[in-house]
């Protein structure tokens, strides 16, 4: 269990979900949410091409910076804030222990 970290996901209704996340499964935040059946579509499968895993980083963690693909997709998304990220571009690593994210609204 030492390879498991704790991550909190606040859903669109404001409910907090405390998730145990494995760091040795090559998973990202989009996949983690899907594995817990939280309402994240992950339509494009993790290519930073649909923004269905748009989320806000609520806690004070420093995360790998946005790459070009992610920036380009966030340009086309709605409800974007300075702490917006695409979950599929955030690999789950040990330093994310205690991370809190909030799922962004999905547009029509």
């Amino acid at each position: 269990m030492e390879q498991t970290i704790n991550i909190t996901v606040i859903d669109r209704e404001g409910t907090s979900h405390s998730l145990e996340a494995p760091t040795d499964m090559n998973m990202n935040m989009m996949e983690l949410c899907k594995s817990y059946e939280l309402p994240v579509e992950g339509t494009c499968g993790g290519m930073a091409m649909c923004a269905s895993c748009h989320m806000y980083i609520v806690s004070d963690h420093s995360i790998l910076e946005r790459n070009d693909d992610e920036e380009a997709m966030l340009d086309q998304a709605f409800f974007v804030k300075s702490n917006s990220r695409l979950g599929c571009q955030i690999p789950i690593t040990p330093d994310l222990d205690g991370l809190t994210v909030q799922l962004a609204e999905v547009g029509s």
Binding site: T43, C44, G45, M47, M49, C50, A51, S52, D68, E71, A72, D75, Q76, A77, F78, F79, V80, E105, G107, S108
Partner: protein
């Protein structure tokens, strides 16, 4: 009216491979797709991305896989209705299905195969509550005919290629006034198009609003003004005849949600015996279906297509016996 044996909804990889497998059984196919090109999400979303789990191809670009599938299907001369969304499905007196598209094209077939993938790709709509009041009354998500904007004031939103390209096009002798609104400072389109837009903004040919977002629309019978929110949270209004929010496409299940099919979490429930749905004569294959153990993989969709056409054959020709033949022995005998 277009008549065929299997009417395939969705011209992605599964739909295209269905043409081949159906062709081996001497069944003809016609494909309908909302996108103007074949390939579904492979050509629309990631044509230049590699796929590594197609059996026999250690690596293949998504766009190349579609080219190969088109070539493989070609001997069986599939028909295509592209750029039209499958809208209305009815059953005729003879039990055959009648499918009408968004542009009114009617198709008739005894079997429907839904290979709809993620659904239809539709424009992303900005989250403004009264935006629907002005749709086609000054707000258009797609430029259908550029001449429609002749002599008009046009505001374009977006930072990608389509926003940049239409800004360039409409500002050169079409619209009377063009403004481009973009949420950030940087643009991610082709460097050439970005430079053209920046040059036009510098020379005053267009108005450019960066770090800004359209947050309100207003007017009577027709759009007359939009409200901009700027980075410092201040607001301003702009008079306009048209607003084109160009934020790309996202998939929606669309009209087929109303065809009486059993749907669970945006997917169509099927029987894994032959990938039939709860509606007699309608099958669903590929990413759009669901069953216990479903994996959304292209290779699983190919398998589903292959089994599905066997069932379709028995449905269309209940009295004919069928014996599996190998292409290696018999070759591919097209129509």
């Amino acid at each position: 009216m277009i008549e065929t044996d299997i009417l395939i909804i969705g011209a992605g990889p599964c739909g295209l491979f269905t043409v081949f497998e159906a062709g081996l059984l001497k069944l003809r196919c016609h494909l309908v797709d909302a996108l103007p090109q074949t390939g579904g999400q492979l050509t629309e979303i990631y044509p230049k991305k590699p796929i590594y789990d197609i059996p026999g191809f250690p690596e293949v670009l998504a766009g190349d896989l579609i080219d190969h599938l088109m070539k493989q299907a070609a001997p069986f001369k599939p028909g295509f209705t592209l750029g039209e969304r499958a809208e209305k499905l009815e059953r005729g007196e003879d039990g055959h299905f009648l499918l009408t598209t968004s542009r009114g094209t009617v198709h008739k077939a005894p079997v429907i195969a839904i290979a709809g993938g993620l659904g239809c790709f539709e424009p992303r709509k900005p989250p403004i509550s009264n935006i629907v009041d002005f749709e086609d009354k000054g707000i258009e998500y797609i430029v259908r005919d550029p001449n429609f904007y002749k002599g008009k004031k046009v505001i374009i939103s977006g930072g990608g290629d389509s926003a940049l390209d239409w800004t360039n096009f409409l500002a050169n002798g079409v619209a009377s006034e063009v403004s481009l609104v973009h949420r950030s400072k940087s643009f991610r389109g082709h460097p050439d198009s970005v430079q053209k837009v920046l040059d036009m903004a510098a020379s005053g040919k267009i108005k450019l609003f960066t770090d800004a977002e359209v947050v309100g629309v207003n007017g009577g019978d027709h759009l007359t003004e939009i409200t901009l929110q700027h980075a410092d949270n201040s607001h301003s209004t702009l008079e306009t005849d048209h607003w084109l929010p160009l934020f790309g496409l996202s998939p929606k299940l669309g009209p087929l949600a109303d065809w009486g099919l059993n749907i669970e979490k945006n997917s169509i429930e099927v029987n894994t015996f032959d990938y039939s749905t709860n509606v007699d004569g309608i099958y669903a294959i590929g990413d759009i279906n669901t069953y216990p153990g479903k994996l959304k993989l292209i290779l699983c969709g190919f398998h589903e297509a292959t089994l599905m056409v066997q069932s379709a054959f028995k449905r269309i020709y209940p009295d004919k016996n069928y014996v599996l033949k190998y292409t290696t022995v018999n070759g591919v005998n097209g129509f």
